[in-house]
């Protein structure tokens, strides 16, 4: 299955990082809502240390893919593999898949089958953090508190599952101090340190977007999923966002998967772009490849009726998806 996923990639070649060292593999993902196929037999990889962009016209199924990856939807079919540690770890992936376990972790290495895990475990164990298209901050809590809530799981352990904390053990105080320092670090990175004690709902829109990213980063993610982080930002704020995302990738080694409509952001910072339309992948590669792909141009700019029929790959994909929908569990080993 893994090998097949590798072969399917139309562009990029064997040297591409997302083929040799993917942090996330989405394999034959199908999501149906009743009769509607929101995502049909989608396969793509996100490379470790890459910024991967998922783009496509409105309604292409990008957010659905996101919700499947982060566990908010349970996919109808398919496998989503999150890898900690280098390489494809193909054998372990097959082992975990066949064992019926949700995940397996040994030291730094770990394989997580996200389609089997509930959302909070995906964030907690698989280390996948996300932001939301319509910002979801804890509005009545201060920016600092928002970042402390994000460090919930390590802090609960440090507080002795609350019992130690109630009696005010010094080990918990130390852990809380460390958590505040980490929050301060991210507040400084996102230029929100002056607003640390203000309620999140009181911040301007751009600051709320940054705070949501800071909050996601406070969970120590290996993969950061951003749903339209540049939506509603002015050009200056977009440029700042680019810098922030590059900083996250380069200094923290966190891989980024983002949905974005702002092509300025996408083309500038993405190492790898996956294009969706009507729930199927129409292009996959680096910025240059995608920009010149006729399928992408057709999907974005629209083409004459006859021309559209002439694009064989789209038709193939659509019919393949429809076929998959009928045949059932082929994607799952």
């Amino acid at each position: 299955m893994v090998a097949a996923a590798g072969k399917e990639a139309p562009t990029g070649g064997a040297s591409a990082r997302w083929e040799s060292d993917p942090i996330l593999s989405v394999e034959h993902l199908t999501m149906r809502f009743g009769g509607l196929v929101a995502v049909g037999d989608l396969s793509f990889n996100a490379g470790r240390g890459d910024i991967t962009a998922l783009i496509g016209p409105n309604g292409a199924g990008k957010t659905t893919v996101f919700n499947c990856v982060t566990g908010f939807y349970k996919p109808t079919e398919g496998r989503i593999v999150m890898r900690h540690g280098p390489g494809r770890q193909a054998e372990t992936v097959e082992e975990v898949t066949n064992s019926g376990l949700r995940w397996k972790k040994e030291g730094d290495k770990g394989i997580f089958l996200l389609e089997r895990m509930p959302d909070h475990e995906i964030a907690h164990r698989a280390k996948v953090a996300r932001t939301f298209q319509n910002i979801r901050l804890f509005g009545g809590m201060t920016a600092l508190e928002n970042l402390l809530v994000a460090q919930h799981n390590p802090l609960v352990v440090a507080s002795g599952f609350t019992v130690g904390g109630i009696f005010g053990l010094p080990s918990y105080r130390k852990a809380e101090q460390a958590a505040i320092e980490k929050a301060v670090y991210w507040l400084e990175r996102t230029r929100l340190i002056d607003r640390a004690d203000d309620p999140a709902a009181d911040l301007p829109y751009g600051a709320q977007r940054r705070l949501e990213i800071a909050r996601a980063m406070c969970t120590d993610p290996q993969l950061l999923c951003l749903d339209e982080p540049a939506a509603g930002l002015n050009p200056r704020e977009s440029a700042e966002l680019n810098e922030l995302l590059k900083f996250i990738r380069d200094e923290h080694g966190t891989s980024v998967l983002l949905i974005e409509h702002d092509m300025g952001v996408v083309m500038e910072i993405s190492d790898h772009i996956v294009v969706l339309d009507y729930g199927v992948k129409i292009s996959d590669g680096d910025a240059e490849t995608v920009r010149n792909d006729p399928n992408v141009i057709a999907a974005y700019l629209g083409v004459e009726e006859e021309e559209e029929i002439d694009i064989p790959e789209v038709l193939e994909d659509v019919s393949a998806a429809a076929g998959k929908a009928g045949t059932g569990k082929g994607g799952k080993a």
């Binding site: 908010f72 909070h120 939301f132 804890f138 809590m141 109630i166 996601a216 969970t219």
Partner: protein, 472 residues
């Protein structure tokens, strides 16, 4: 663009300066005219309703004219309308606005005041029984009993505040845990001879256990559905207690519940009693004072634990859950367990309070645990301001103390005549008072939220920012 902006206030300011003399005259004329129209309408309508009075006479109905009442009502309408016109409708600064601002200003001042109010109340609470004994020798027992009752509700309010105020889960069946606590102690003492201090922790644990039992099915529910299921749960507990006659005594209740002992000393007249041991003259008031300090200690424990919990990850997770459950899940917070802890810890304090209630009364029956109790506890929490500890105290004093004080409205009979029974109107007056408070302070008496962690400067968070959670 900039120039028009700077012009605007100047052009507005000019007529504003000239306004008083000219406009006031116009305003008075218009007000008089409006009041006259209103008085005329009142006269026309009132002529039949007020001016004519029909009495049953042997030969049929007899009409009597009540000119005085008619004229007085017209004058009242004229004067009232004129006053409203002058001070509210046409005034530059409506009087209602000033009063409202004053009231909300009082609310804003409360947080700053809160710290001192808290300390003052605490010291007052410590010396309260002796104050009552010194100040009201004849009525001390009644007043201490009332203080015990208020403190019980303060504790219940603080317990429910965890579930409703912090975690944002609307619980309409909180009295169920109160009942579980009370019956746990009553049954443990009846069947196994447990004393109060042995049964107290067990009652709390059992109530927490029931909190988890309730929590599991309601976890998936949101909003109104959650409220309805908790309401049903509260009723189920009561109905089971009422009908399981062999075990709980059904409507007969359980009597002879042991009183709390002071390190094994009973508050009785005998030689081995508390008074004899300490060489005091026996007085029944000792037991009341002791009960008062027990509930004070229990309530303070509830308060301290809640304040601590708020600054722990679990407390922050509760508040985050109230703000946005989906965001919580995206941050790796197990929302199911978080809700369960809120339910069970809230229930545990309810259980402690219930156990205290049983020992104070010496007798319990399902009648004490009706939905009205849940409603009153919830009213205390909402009136005080969701999530506010000091707000609950004030609201409990106002609510419970208020209801009790309304029993002593004998002087109203002098106004409304000897047939007037004020006790029958106390719930009406109480309800009206609640409506007025909620109109002026819709988010409770202390509506601002205090952050649980501060970097540089503590800023209180306004109620409009804070979410209210499920089912509000």
């Amino acid at each position: 663009m900039a120039s028009t902006r700077t012009d605007a206030p100047a052009s507005d300011g000019k007529p504003a300066a000239e306004m008083p003399a000219q406009a006031a005259q116009g305003r008075l004329a218009a007000s008089l005219k409006d009041a006259a129209v209103a008085a005329f309408l009142a006269g026309v309508l009132g002529f039949f309703f007020i001016g004519l009075r029909t009495d049953i006479e042997p030969g049929g109905l007899e009409i009597t004219m009540r000119w005085t009442a008619w004229v007085v009502s017209i004058l009242i309408v004229f004067g009232g309308r004129l006053a409203l016109n002058l001070f509210v409708f046409r005034a530059q600064r409506p009087a209602t606005g000033i009063v409202g601002a004053g009231l909300s200003g009082m609310g804003e001042a409360l947080p700053g005041l809160g710290k001192w109010l808290m300390r003052g109340l605490f010291v007052f609470a410590l010396v309260l029984p002796f104050f009552f004994m010194a100040a009201f020798p004849g009525k001390d027992r009644q007043f201490i009993d009332l203080a015990i009752l208020i403190l019980t509700y303060v504790m219940l309010g603080w317990g429910l505040n965890i579930v409703v105020g912090l975690a944002g889960l609307l619980d309409l069946g909180y009295v169920a845990f109160y009942a579980v606590g009370a019956y746990s102690f009553a049954l443990l003492s009846q069947y196994f001879g447990f004393g109060f201090w042995m049964a107290l922790p067990l009652a709390g644990i059992l109530a927490a256990f029931w909190g988890i039992i309730l929590g599991f099915p309601v976890l998936r529910l949101r909003g109104d559905y959650l409220a309805i299921v908790t309401l049903a749960f509260g009723e189920i507990i009561r109905v089971v207690l009422l009908n399981w006659y062999e075990f709980t005594g059904g409507p007969d209740g359980i009597s002879g519940i042991p009183r709390p002992t002071f390190f094994g000393l009973e508050f009785s007249r005998g030689d081995d009693g508390f008074a004899a041991f300490f060489g005091l003259d026996y007085s029944p008031i000792h037991r009341f004072v002791y009960l008062y300090y027990i509930i004070l200690a229990l309530a303070l424990i509830t308060n301290v634990v809640t304040i601590r919990l708020r600054k722990l990850p679990i407390g922050r997770a509760w508040e985050a859950l109230r703000e946005d459950e989906i965001a919580c899940r995206s941050l790796g917070i197990n929302t199911r367990n978080t809700k369960l802890t809120a339910f069970s810890i809230g229930a545990m304090f309810g259980g402690f309070a219930g156990s205290f209630f049983a020992t104070r009364q010496g007798f319990i029956s399902p009648e004490s645990f009706t939905f009205l109790e849940s409603a009153i506890i919830l009213a205390i929490v909402v009136l005080g301001g969701l999530g506010s500890q000091i707000g609950v105290v004030i609201a409990a004093i106002v609510t419970i103390g208020g209801i009790e004080m309304l029993r002593n409205l004998g002087f109203l009979t002098q106004i409304f005549g000897p047939g007037f029974d004020p006790v029958q109107y106390r719930m009406l007056i109480f309800g009206l008072a609640m409506v007025f408070i909620m109109v002026w302070k819709p988010r409770g008496l202390v509506s601002t939220r205090e952050p649980s962690a501060v970097l540089k400067e503590k800023k209180r968070i306004g109620a409009d920012m804070v979410a209210q959670g499920e089912g509000h």
